[in-house]
């Protein structure tokens, strides 16, 4: 009886995973299909759409902008979140709850509201739209996510470690640099990659703030509105492969770090 129930659950779960992945599988198939339309049976194998993308200047500019924005916003937000997490969770415990409530807002509020607010704000104080303010706004959101990731790590860390190092003669600065920071490194790597991916995929806020420029998601959106070229599939394939390699690096780095830690501890 129990096994039968489990079998149904297993099949259901398998179907659910199939459902989650089918759209992505379809995109991959049509990236190499030589027909213009999106219908079965498939026409034949081609690299044509890859070549077309390679000669698309706007697409390449979009990719470049996306990388610039993601690299800078991930780095800034990670630095801010490291300081914030140490200060908030290893500082005096007063009012921590209020700050935590405020800091979760960027995670839970619709991006549309955040994007519109930033648009109105920067236009009101007369700062031109463009890449710099997209970076600034991405930081405001990803900072909260990185903070959440760091929080998981720092909460379990006792203050005694830092206190002991100061007792033994370390300055406060070196107690942060040499004691807390190394403990946080796996969470910092995870947080930075997470922030990078948020910025890389972010569309709504960027759409309102990018002005005359473009990023990859904004470019894809414009392509979707003006008819669908299989070029979009090619971009999707490349982005997907890129994403998968980022995830792989993340998982591998965690494993390697744990191994090093195990070795150090003997």
């Amino acid at each position: 009886m129990k096994n039968k129930k489990s079998a149904i659950l297993t099949i259901y779960t398998a179907l659910f995973f199939l459902y989650i992945f089918i759209p992505i599988i379809l995109i991959f198939i049509f990236a190499w299909n030589s027909g213009e339309g999106y219908s079965f049976p498939l026409k034949g194998f081609t690299w044509r759409w890859f070549a077309e993308l390679a000669s698309d200047r706007l697409a390449k500019e979009a990719i470049r902008n996306s990388i610039i924005i993601a690299l800078s916003s991930a780095t800034i937000s990670t630095v801010l979140a490291i300081l914030l997490s140490i200060g908030l969770l290893k500082g005096p415990a007063r009012r921590t709850g209020v700050f935590l409530t405020l800091l979760i807002l960027p995670v839970l509020m619709p991006s549309l509201a955040i994007g519109i607010a930033a648009l109105v704000f920067f236009r009101t104080i007369n700062i031109p739209l463009g890449i710099p303010i997209v970076i600034v706004s991405h930081v405001s959101i990803s900072m909260s996510y990185v903070f959440l990731i760091l929080m998981g790590r720092i909460e379990g860390m006792p203050l005694d470690l830092q206190e002991a190092s100061v007792d033994l003669g370390a300055t406060w600065f070196s107690s942060v640099k040499d004691i807390i920071f190394p403990i946080l490194i796996p969470a910092i790597i995870a947080g930075w990659l997470f922030a990078f991916m948020i910025s890389w995929n972010e569309f709504i806020i960027t759409y309102f703030l990018i002005g005359g420029n473009t990023t990859l998601p904004v470019y894809i959106f414009s392509q979707l509105r003006f008819g669908i070229s299989p070029k979009v599939n090619v971009i999707s394939v490349l982005v997907t492969l890129f994403t998968l390699s980022v995830i792989a690096i993340l998982l591998a780095s965690r494993k390697i770090y744990n191994k090093i830690l195990m070795k150090e501890r003997g």
């Binding site: 659950l9 297993t10 259901y12 779960t13 659910f16 995973f17 459902y19 989650i20 992945f21 759209p23 992505i24 379809l26 995109i27 999106y38 219908s39 801010l80 979140a81 300081l83 140490i86 200060g87 908030l88 500082g91 005096p92 709850g97 700050f99 935590l100 409530t101 405020l102 807002l105 839970l108 509020m109 619709p110 991006s111 549309l112 509201a113 955040i114 519109i116 607010a117 704000f121 009101t124 405001s140 959440l148 830092q162 206190e163 100061v166 007792d167 991916m197 995929n201 569309f203 709504i204 309102f208 894809i220 979707l224 669908i228 999707s236 982005v239 997907t240 994403t243 998968l244 995830i247």
Partner: protein, 287 residues
């Protein structure tokens, strides 16, 4: 050694300053726009008014869109609970590979959602994959029109946000002690009764946390209805976008945005009042 704590505390200022200037200040500025009539800093005197909000409820057109958005987001949430419950249950109670499967489940989440929405366009269009499949099965004689309707928007939203429901639901189911269920069975409860009285009730935290993660972004979505929807499936997000990119009525657009923001804040506060804020952090799953 409280001097260490007080020195650590100084580290919050750069991040906090950033948060106040680039997150809270912009929100306050649209709040001002929402309750005034003119452009801020235009030199003209500001007039306080609730007119911008009243328009939302007075014009039938806007009221219909508001109610429709609430309906679509509500249905998205309900379906995401129904679809994800068995999966979350399987992951929490019936497999040892749950951690690996959750990593797999999160992969599509990292692939740009515009791209995944585009894939749904391929699936749902008139000569799309779904229609061809149904024709081939001979379930239908001629292609069904699904794309550019409320149904296609709903399908797109359910697809996009159901994984967000699986994570907190899984986390809450994982915490349930199996001996509670065994005890209730020993005491004579039926399996169904044990499920509803224990498992389901204890997973409510997960359901509510998931509701925040599904309902709020669904309500604020604008790309999915723009790509998959037609004229009968315009949502709040599209109205707001239109006000800022074409119509240019910032005061009215801000009122709509503020309404959306307030609604999400109220939901979050309501949740943290019942379950405590820590549980949002705990139920965030694997992010």
């Amino acid at each position: 050694m409280s001097f260490i704590r007080s020195k650590n505390k100084n580290l919050i200022y750069p991040g906090l300053l950033w948060f106040f200037i680039f997150f809270l200040l912009p929100l306050s500025v649209i709040l001002i726009y929402a309750v005034t009539t003119r452009n801020l800093f235009s030199g003209e005197p500001l007039e306080f008014t609730f007119k911008n909000f009243a328009v939302i409820f007075q014009k039938k057109h806007y009221l219909i869109i508001l109610l429709r958005s609430l309906k679509i987001s509500f249905l998205t949430t309900i379906f995401s609970i129904i679809f994800s419950y068995p999966v979350a249950y399987y992951l929490a109670k019936r497999t040892r590979f749950d951690k690996a499967l959750i990593v797999v489940l999160m992969i599509p989440f990292w692939i740009n959602y515009l791209i995944r929405t585009f894939a749904w366009k391929l699936i749902l269009s008139e000569n799309g994959v779904l229609n061809q499949f149904l024709l081939w099965l001979k379930v239908i004689d001629e292609p069904v029109r699904i794309l550019y309707s409320q149904t296609s928007v709903l399908l797109g939203l359910i697809y996009m946000y159901t994984p967000m429901m699986v994570l907190p639901l899984y986390a809450s189911l994982l915490r349930i002690d199996d001996s509670l269920i065994e005890a209730s069975l020993d005491l004579g409860a039926s399996r169904i009764r044990a499920f509803f009285d224990i498992t389901f009730k204890l997973s409510l935290t997960g359901i509510f946390a998931g509701t925040l993660l599904v309902f709020i972004p669904a309500l604020g979505s604008f790309a999915i209805p723009a790509i998959l929807g037609g004229t009968d499936s315009v949502m709040i997000g599209n109205i707001i976008e239109n006000q800022f990119s074409r119509v240019g009525n910032w005061n009215f657009g801000s009122a709509f945005t503020v309404a959306l923001a307030i609604l999400s804040i109220v939901l979050v506060l309501f949740y943290s009042k019942i379950f405590g804020l820590e549980s949002i952090y705990k139920n965030r799953g694997n992010i």
